[in-house]
Symmetry: C2
Subunit: 352 residues, 2 copies
Amino acid sequence: MAKRKTTNSPTLADVAAHAGVSPATVSRVLAGNYPVSRSANQRVMRSIRELNYSANTHARALAGVQSKTIAFILADVRGQSFADAAHGVEQEAARRGWLSLIGTSQGDSARELALVQLMREQRAGAVILIGGVTNESAEYRAKMTDLARSLHSAGSLLVLCGRPPLGDDVPTAVIEYDNEHGAYAMTSHLLSQGHRRILFLAGPERQSTSVQRLSGHRRALLDFGVPDDGTLVEHGVFTRASGYQLTKNRLIAGQDFTAVFAATDVVAAGVYAAAAEFGLNVPEDLAVAGYDDVELAQDLRPRLTTVHVPYEELGRTAAKIALDSQHQQPGWTGDHRLFTTHVVVRNSVGRL
Amino acid sequence: MAKRKTTNSPTLADVAAHAGVSPATVSRVLAGNYPVSRSANQRVMRSIRELNYSANTHARALAGVQSKTIAFILADVRGQSFADAAHGVEQEAARRGWLSLIGTSQGDSARELALVQLMREQRAGAVILIGGVTNESAEYRAKMTDLARSLHSAGSLLVLCGRPPLGDDVPTAVIEYDNEHGAYAMTSHLLSQGHRRILFLAGPERQSTSVQRLSGHRRALLDFGVPDDGTLVEHGVFTRASGYQLTKNRLIAGQDFTAVFAATDVVAAGVYAAAAEFGLNVPEDLAVAGYDDVELAQDLRPRLTTVHVPYEELGRTAAKIALDSQHQQPGWTGDHRLFTTHVVVRNSVGRL
DNA sequence: GGCAGCATAGTTAACGTTTTCTACAGGAAG
DNA sequence: CTTCCTGTAGAAAACGTTAACTATGCTGCC
C-alpha cells in the first residue's frame, strides 16, 4: 500500500534508483563533501535534472543541517524605517546566496516569541529582531533568553536590533541606534532656535524606543533649564493617524506650544495634516520635527527636519554579523555595535 | 553515544518519559484526535509545561502534517502598496491563529521560484504571490505551474495576486486589481481637464503591471482621438528616484507636456521633486497624477490625484481564499476575483 | 606476493514526529 | 462462564535526509 503519499515529488531514493547508485552517493553529490567518481556524479546529476528533484528541507533540517535562511522579525511591515532595514538584510543575505524571510509580530510579544520559536525550529541560520519592545515582562525575557541560547547552541544566532540586550551571559549580538542622543540633539536644536514650549508626541508608554527618545528629549530640556512638568508629552502610536489626532486634540484645547517633536516621521506627517486643518503654517506658526529620516521626510512640504537613522545599513550590518561565523568560535562573548544618529536640518523648524 | 545532539530542547520522547507514558500518547494528547484517559492527559500536560516542550516543526512536517504558516511573496518590502497588502494577509492569518511569513524576490524570477519552492518544502498552508511579473519566460511559467500543482496536491494553494493567471487547468486562485481600467479612467480624467500632452512614466518595459497601466492609458488616448506616437512614454522603475530623474531629463530636454501620469504614487513624488527644482508649480504649471493611493498621496503638496487600489483588503481577501479549504474539494476549478479601482481626485490636476 | 593505504561505494542508524496496527483490560451480553 | 465489544495504551513503521561505519577493489611499497 502506498500509504497516503500526499506529495508526489521524487525523493532522494528515487534519484538513487534512477541513477543506479545508493542514496548516500546522491546525498554526497549534492553536498559535495565526499569524493564521488566522475561517472557516478554525472549520472546522478542527470537523474536529478530528469526527475526534477529537489531536496526536502524538513528531512534535511531533521537530519541536522542548517538552512541557508535568515529570519527578520519586526512589528509591522508598513513602517518605512524597518522596511528599509529589512531591505538591508535582504541585500546582504542575497549577496551570500541566502534567502531571507520576514515575520511580523504586530507588537505582540507572544507572537514574537512564537515567530522566533518557529524560526529556530526551521533551523534558520540566524534570527534578527528589530524594533523596540513593549511592556517587557520577566517571563518574556526568560523565554527569549532560552531561545537565544537554544539558537546559539544550534550554531545559529539571535541578533537584537534597536532593543535592550538580554544580559551579558546571553549569546546574542546587539546592534543599537542612538535614540537617546538623537532626541537630545533634536530638542537641543529646537531650543537653540528659541522654542521653549515643545509638544513631544511619544509612542506607546512602555515601548523601549519611545522611552529612549522621550528620555533624550527630557535631558535636553533639563540641560537647557527649561521647565518640564510632563504636561507637554503625549503618548500614542507610531502612525500618521495618531500624530494627527493628538495634535488636533491639543489644538482644540487651545494649548500653547510653538513646536512639535514627533517621535517618528510618519507621526510628523499627521502633525502637518492637523496644522493645515487649523490654518497653521509650518514653520512660521508651528515648528515640526521628526525622527527616522525616511523618504517621506523629503516629500512633506516644508521638508521635514528630522533625525537620520541609517536603517538600511543597520539591516545590512545585522545580516553581516549574523552570517559571519565568528560567533561559532568557543571564546565568543557577544557583539555590540552602536550606530550614531544625527539631526538633518530642513525647513520645518524656524527661529522663534 | 549521544551523537551530536545539536539542540537540547526536550523532545516528545522526553515528555513521554517524564509523564510515564508512551510517545504515542503524548502525540495524541497534543493532536486531540484519539481518546486518552483523564489521568494520562493531565500528567502529559503537566510534563509539557514543566519541560517547556514544543514540537519540532520539521519532524511534524516530515510526518505529513501541514504547518499553520502562510507565505506572502513580493518584490520589495519598501513599497507601501504591497506592504499594505502584506498587512492585510497578516491580519487575516492572525485572526485564524496562523503565522505569516514574507519573502522578497527583488524582482528576480529565479529568486521568486526559489522562495515558492522553499515554502512548498516548508509545507506552508498557502503561498500568495503579489505584484506584476517581469519578463515572464516559458520556462518560468512551466516551473511555476509545476509548483502550483505540487502545492495543490499537498493540500496547499498558490494564490496569484495582481498578476496574470497561469492557465485554466492550473489549480490556483487569482486575484486581480484593475490596472487597465484604472489607468484608462485616470487618463480620461486628465484629458477631460483639457490636457493633451501627457507624459506617462511607466515601470519596467516588460513588467505586467506596467504594461497593463500603460495599455489603459493608451486606450484612453485612442478613445479621445489624441495622437499617440509613443514619444511621451518613459520606462523606469517604481521608485521616487526614477520618477525624479525621468522627469528631470524631459524637463532639461525642454520637452513639451502639461501633465505627468506616474505609474505609481512614489514615482509621482519624484515628479514633484523635479518640478520643484525647475520652479514649476503643481498643478498650475504641471498636472501630476499617480496610481495606488498610498498614504503618501495625502502628504504630498498639493495632495495627489491618484487611482485608489484597496491593497489591504486585497491582502485580506487573498489570505481568506487561501485559508478557506473549499479548494480542497475534488470539483474545485479555481477561484477568480477582480478588485475594481477608482480615481481619487485631489489637488494635483488642474483644468487647462 | 602480502599488506598497508587510498579512493569509492554501500549500509544503516539517527533526527522527532504521526499513525497504523496490535494488545489488553474490564464490562456487557449471551 | 465464555464471547465480544469498547476504551486506552504501547510498539513499530513510516516520512526523506545525513553521516558514521563498513566494505571492496586497487595501487604501490617493502
